[in-house]
């Protein structure tokens, strides 16, 4: 019997069928959504005019721009603070290795509800409850932060080694001391990673909640759009991108200092970085 060996790296039949189905779905969905070539071409014409009107960006209204950006920053800072402060106890309550199930279930449900609502939807509710302005944005992003870092904190706490916790407990430490000296030191660097990630993400979202009236640069942006002030829109977008890039650099620096042990002076004191918080890396 001479069975030919399968060619290496052959694409399997299952994968082929999968790709075919995916392609078919794409065509079906595109036809359902009424995408036509004509529309696309007309759009490109519009797009050229649109971009023509966006450039050069118009920074003459810079006072409004700065005011919006500062408000976005305030929203991001306060929402991150609130989110982190609330997430800490909630995630301690939610970790199955420390708490009995009557405590973990409600905490987990809270995190799940916060996670599944989009910040903009939450912002609509808070605008209704506390009126237009920065406070609604802060509260909406606090909810979003609890949903996101609460989950990551919980997972980090559930992965700790219980030996150190037992050792601390064996010395007769109180519950608070077990948490402070047995649990937190093991998760601190990962917490810092998640917290900086969330601050970064809140900064991005804080530029958006303004679209529904919850303060920040988003409101200015939306108003400029509706007045067809496209050169001001371009100026706002460029400033948002710049702000977020600076934020990302700062976040990297914070991670370098707190996670990798970067300090002033000698660099050789740098200790090996602990496992990179993979979950935080997964989300951009």
């Amino acid at each position: 019997m001479n069975v030919p060996a399968p060619r290496p790296f052959r694409v399997s039949t299952g994968a082929r069928v999968g790709f075919l189905l995916l392609a078919l779905y794409a065509f079906y969905a595109a036809s359902q959504l009424d995408f036509t070539w004509d529309r696309f071409i007309t759009g490109l014409d519009n797009g050229a005019r649109f971009i023509g009107r966006m450039f050069p960006p118009n920074f003459s209204n810079w006072e409004l721009l700065i005011k919006g950006l500062v408000e976005s920053l305030q929203i991001a800072v306060l929402a991150s603070l609130g989110g982190i402060l609330i997430s800490l106890p909630v995630s301690l309550l939610a970790s199955r290795n420390l708490m009995p199930s009557w405590a973990t279930w409600p905490a987990r449900a809270l995190i799940a509800v916060c996670r599944s609502l989009h910040p903009v939807i939450v912002a609509i509710f808070f605008v209704k409850a506390v009126g237009f302005g920065a406070l609604a944005g802060i509260l909406a992003l606090v909810v979003a932060s609890i949903g996101f870092i609460g989950k990551l904190f919980t997972e980090a706490i559930e992965e700790i080694s219980l030996k150190q916790v037992e050792a601390v407990r064996a010395t007769g430490a109180s519950f608070a001391n077990v948490i402070l000296f047995g649990v937190l030191p093991q998760v601190f660097s990962r917490f810092v990673g998640f917290a900086t990630y969330q601050t970064d993400s809140n900064l991005r979202s804080s530029t958006m909640v303004g679209i529904v009236g919850a303060g920040g640069i988003g409101g200015t942006l939306f108003a400029a759009f509706q007045r067809f002030d496209y050169d001001f829109v371009c100026a706002i977008l460029l400033s948002i991108i710049a702000l977020i890039m600076v934020g990302e650099m700062l976040a990297n620096l914070i991670r370098a200092v707190f996670v990798e042990g970067l300090g002033f002076g000698s660099r050789d004191g740098k200790r090996p970085a602990p496992a990179v918080p993979s979950a935080a890396k997964e989300f951009d």
Partner: protein
């Protein structure tokens, strides 16, 4: 010989100084924000009442509205999310390949690709949607493109990082055998990043289902448009029903992604 220090410190003084500098700046930022942020306290007093009012108006959700108002919009939302994700893969892959330092040995190209990816991520999908509504007019096309352009940064960045983390061994073996760049990518890099790639795409699809549900607020199609209409008309029972549908679809998407990830990885 250095004297053994009397006291043991976990961090060098330079490290501690760096940490305290950051603590200081964080506290300063919080204090400055809290002092200057504009909050109108009068609005706060009746917040509980307003909330109660809203919730009583939302109860009970109008279930009858689902077949004629919500179902089609919900399907449209899922189409927007899926098509946007598919489209973003095609745009993101070239930039991901260019951003990987081991694959593209040109710092200028790496930098340019990363700049494109960061810009894509910095602009929120709602803002992208505003732009595309301006260009293509209201509708699902604008939403799909917004989802695609926002996802490019996410998929491209993570694919670039996955490429940079691939072990050199198989690549060097292919190089030694005289493989071209295309062959190296297809036989050396791709099999190594495949699991990571699919999990990135699935994760992004999951996020996109959530995001496409709100794109309609700026006119970019999907269930958000139904929600905007209901909010504008103060039909809060319908809003409640729409929120319930979004909630369910988000959970279904998450369950589907978890199941698919288990099968693929």
């Amino acid at each position: 010989m250095n004297a053994v220090p009397r006291e043991w410190h976990r961090y060098t003084s330079g490290q501690r100084l760096a940490r305290f500098t950051f603590y200081f700046f964080i506290v300063a930022a919080v204090v400055a924000s809290a002092r200057t942020v504009e909050i109108i306290p009068e609005f706060l007093y009746d917040a509980p009442e307003q909330m109660k009012d809203l919730l009583t108006r939302m109860w009970p959700p109008e279930f009858r509205y689902y077949p004629d108002g919500i179902h089609d919009a919900l399907i449209e939302t899922i189409h927007i999310a899926s098509l946007g994700t598919l489209l973003s893969i095609f745009i993101a892959l070239p930039f991901g390949l260019l951003a990987a330092r081991n694959l593209t040995p040109s710092p200028t190209l790496n930098y340019l690709a990363k700049l494109v990816l960061v810009s894509s991520r910095s602009v929120n999908s709602l803002v992208w949607a505003l732009l595309f509504v301006g260009i293509f007019g209201p509708g699902a096309l604008a939403g799909t493109l917004a989802i695609a352009f926002r996802s490019v940064g996410f998929v491209g960045k993570l694919v670039g990082e996955a490429l940079e983390e691939t072990p050199r061994g198989p690549i060097e073996a292919l190089e030694a055998a005289g493989a071209s760049t295309g062959q190296r990518v297809w036989y050396g890099y791709w099999p190594q990043i495949r699991p990571a790639f699919w999990s990135i795409v699935l994760l992004r699809w999951d996020i996109n289902v959530r995001e496409s549900a709100v794109l309609g607020l700026v006119g970019a199609g999907g269930i958000g448009m139904a929600m905007q209409a209901a909010i504008d008309l103060f039909q809060w029972e319908r809003v409640a029903m729409i929120l319930l549908s979004i909630f369910i679809i988000v959970i279904v998407a998450e369950i589907a992604v978890t199941a698919l990830r288990k099968r693929i990885l």
